[in-house]
């Protein structure tokens, strides 16, 4: 992950694997994407976030060349997107499945060959993947004999077996059970270590927050926010601290504002906002003489909170 990059909001000098430049797309009866711009740094885990119907899948279908943009361009490794790029991209669609009456091994081989792998290459890669995920014994079974969780593993292998540079996972955890989800998470992190870039597209922001280095928020066909998770949080933090302790909390200083406070059996819990450029230590100093403090931490907004805030701004603007 390029640490020296202040990405998105300020210009980024890191190598980007994908650049979305002014992409618009409309269908007969609605606009799916409107002038969307952002870049995805190579080797990162990128969250493409937004509510259902925001335009995430439309954008992904443009990146995977299933459809074309009405205007704007997509650049893959600084080249305009072209059919040859398909083999460098792995895509796990939200609507995913396998041929039910086809053997797992044959199916993987077929899908790998469609991606442009030669038969011998494909066979070899499938072998290493099935050993890794411990699914070698399924190779001669028809897909319909597998459980749903097993099928998900096979689908994941089908997405990544050609070792794509860019892996796009649309709502990846919606169908996975928790155990598989963890296995997949580990595999994704390992793929990133090996140099792949991963795009997560989801409307469940909390599910990817911990994994993503960068995000772009899309709402109603427009990008509303993008950048590194750290930068965004820095910008959206509100100098609010969460304090827990024992005693009677009484804040009378004009430098601090109590946003929320609860008391129970002599224990309190409060969110306190710093005003007039005061520092957290000032607050601590102010509190220590009157109460016993058990915990003190900064209240960092979740991506979800930021998103809701952003969406509300947009709606009211």
């Amino acid at each position: 992950m390029p640490k020296n990059c202040t990405f998105g909001i300020i210009n980024c000098k890191a190598l980007s694997i994908l650049k979305i430049a002014g992409v618009s797309k409309r269908y007969a009866d609605h606009v799916a994407l409107q002038d969307v711009n952002f870049e995805i740094p190579a080797g990162s885990i990128f969250g493409l976030l937004g509510p259902n119907g925001a335009g995430k899948t439309s954008l992904i279908r443009i990146i995977t060349q299933i459809t074309g943009a009405d205007s704007g361009e997509v650049y893959f490794r600084n080249e305009k997107l072209k059919p040859d790029h398909i083999k460098y991209i792995g895509y796990l669609p939200e609507e995913r499945g396998l041929y039910k009456k086809m053997k797992v091994g044959e199916q993987l081989l077929y899908l790998a060959q469609l991606k442009g792998l030669s038969k011998s290459d494909a066979t070899q890669k499938i072998k290493s993947w099935i050993h890794k995920l411990d699914i070698a014994s399924w190779m001669n079974k028809n897909v319909e004999e597998l459980s749903k969780g097993m099928q998900q593993k096979v689908q994941f292998v089908a997405t990544v077996m050609h070792e794509p540079e860019l892996i796009i996972l649309d709502e990846p955890f919606s169908g996975f059970d928790p155990i598989n989800a963890n296995i997949i998470k580990d595999e994704i992190l390992e793929l990133r270590e090996k140099g792949s870039t991963i795009i997560f597209s989801t409307h469940r922001m909390e599910s990817v927050e911990e994994l993503c280095d960068y995000i772009a928020l899309i709402n109603r066909s427009r990008k509303v926010l993008d950048g590194s998770v750290q930068d965004i949080k820095d910008i959206y933090k509100t100098d609010t601290y969460l304090v827990e302790g024992k005693g009677r909390l009484l804040v009378l200083s004009p430098d601090f504002e109590v946003l929320e406070q609860t008391e129970n059996h002599g224990l309190f819990r409060a969110s306190i906002k710093l005003l007039n450029n005061t520092k957290p230590n000032d607050l601590l100093r102010y509190l220590i003489p009157t109460v016993e403090i058990h915990s003190f931490r900064e209240k960092i907004p979740s991506i979800n909170d930021i998103f809701i805030q952003k969406v509300n701004e947009n709606t009211h603007a």
């Binding site: 059919p83 499945g97 899908l111």
Partner: protein
């Protein structure tokens, strides 16, 4: 091209390895064998002699009934009531009563039997009686039977095509049959395999694999690979049928030759001269038919069969594929299937009635030129001989036709395969044609 080839292979192998394909491929020749063998076996089983009693009060038919292996005639005496009683206690299967007869109006002859009399027995007896009564009448009028047979003349007109290429014997029946058979096969083939394309597309949609695939290949490649793969399945099946059927028929032919010719029923009636005459006429007709069959332009028929077979299949196959893409499951296909099935069914019906009777008429011409009807209509006409320019025109139009339907289908297909949970109507479909994807 490479990707179409990969898809082609998958579609082909998956279907050819299916149990239903193997069963169908083996079953058809076996059914054919059964059709050939079972009648012969059945005829041999029923070969047991029946005895029929004859009570002749007219006295005209003494020893005039010739017994055969199937039927033995026994003279009875006494009056009718007596004979009836005896008959009931005997093993006789039937009992023929001939009262005193007026030769000009022979009435009152009756065949009694314990159960319903067989039609064979009735016909054989009627034929014998008619023959004998005619003989008696000839005698009465002073005509000798032999002289009469001498006078009778058989005239049969053989038909011959006279063209620049020389003379060729033909046979309207054989020609029609050849045309009808090939048209029927094309009709069946388009339906059977067209529906397979549709099912294949629906399967990909419902199993949700389609988006995975089209992130690797173009929708058009997926559609073409599927259509061509299934065409190859059809050709394979057809080829295997021809090979297996000819094997089966030649084996059966060798096993049953002596039993099959002459068939037992004709053997029974060859006893009298008139029947002998019809029998020989039959063999003549058979020989003529075989000769006519040899004289059919088989390379042309086979060549154009393959062409129209594939052309018609590709034309309709693309449309079946588009229907599959437009719906979510097979029950929704009805409204879109109708415009595809109507031209096919209509052509097949018209072909059997109008075209086969008048293979050079205007209906035949137009239907054999328009791409939607030509695969069936032209195949009916070809054995009768079609002017070269018409054949070429029809072929060119068919090629243009399937390019057009494939284009049309591809535009519907690329939109339809990613569309879920939407009931589509024709208005919606026509919009898809102009979507920019």
């Amino acid at each position: 091209m490479h990707k179409i080839w990969l898809i082609f292979q998958r579609e082909y192998l998956v279907r050819v390895r299916k149990k239903s394909f193997i069963i169908m491929t083996l079953l058809a020749p076996l059914l054919l064998a059964a059709f050939l063998v079972i009648p012969v076996l059945l005829a041999n089983i029923s070969d047991k002699t029946e005895e029929i009693g004859v009570l002749d009060e007219s006295g005209l038919f003494q020893n005039k009934f010739t017994s055969t292996p199937e039927r033995k005639f026994v003279s009875l005496s006494g009056n009718l009531n007596n004979a009836k009683a005896k008959f009931l206690q005997s093993k006789l299967t039937g009992f023929l009563y001939i009262p005193k007869l007026n030769l000009d109006n022979p009435a009152g002859i009756r065949l009694y039997s314990k159960s319903n009399a067989s039609i064979d027995n009735k016909l054989a007896i009627e034929s014998s009686l008619r023959n004998e009564i005619e003989n008696l009448k000839f005698q009465r009028s002073g005509i000798d039977r032999a002289t009469l047979e001498d006078i009778k003349t058989d005239v049969a007109v053989s038909t011959t095509n006279l063209s620049d290429e020389g003379e060729k014997d033909n046979n309207a029946f054989v020609t029609s049959a050849a045309g009808y058979a090939s048209a029927f096969l094309i009709y069946i083939f388009i339906f059977m395999y067209g529906v397979q394309i549709m099912r294949g597309v629906i399967e990909e949609k419902t199993s949700r694999i389609v988006e995975v695939i089209i992130s690797s290949v173009k929708p058009f490649q997926l559609m073409m690979g599927k259509i061509l793969g299934i065409a190859a399945v059809g050709l394979t099946q057809f080829l295997l049928w021809i090979i297996l059927s000819s094997l089966v028929t030649s084996v059966i032919g060798a096993q049953f030759r002596d039993k099959m010719v002459p068939p037992p029923t004709t053997a029974a009636i060859t006893a009298n001269p008139e029947n002998e005459y019809t029998a020989s006429k039959k063999t003549n007709a058979m020989q003529e038919a075989f000769k006519a069959f040899d004289n059919l332009n088989l390379p042309l028929i086979l060549g154009s069969f393959i062409f129209y077979f594939l052309g018609g299949y590709l034309l309709y196959g693309a449309l079946f594929g588009a229907v599959g893409a437009a719906v979510d499951n097979e029950t929704d296909t009805q409204q879109f299937m109708l415009p595809i099935t109507i031209p096919l069914v209509m052509t097949f019906v018209v072909a059997q009635t109008v075209i086969i009777k008048n293979p050079d008429g205007p209906v035949a011409f137009w239907m054999s030129v328009i791409p939607f009807t030509s695969p069936i209509a032209m195949m009916i006409r070809i054995p009768f001989g079609v002017p070269t320019y018409q054949l070429l025109l029809s072929m060119v139009l068919l090629v243009l036709g399937f390019i057009a339907t494939t284009w049309l289908a591809a535009r519907i297909y690329r939109v339809g395969i990613l569309m879920y949970g939407k009931k589509v109507n024709y208005k919606e479909l026509s919009k898809w044609l102009f979507y920019k994807v």
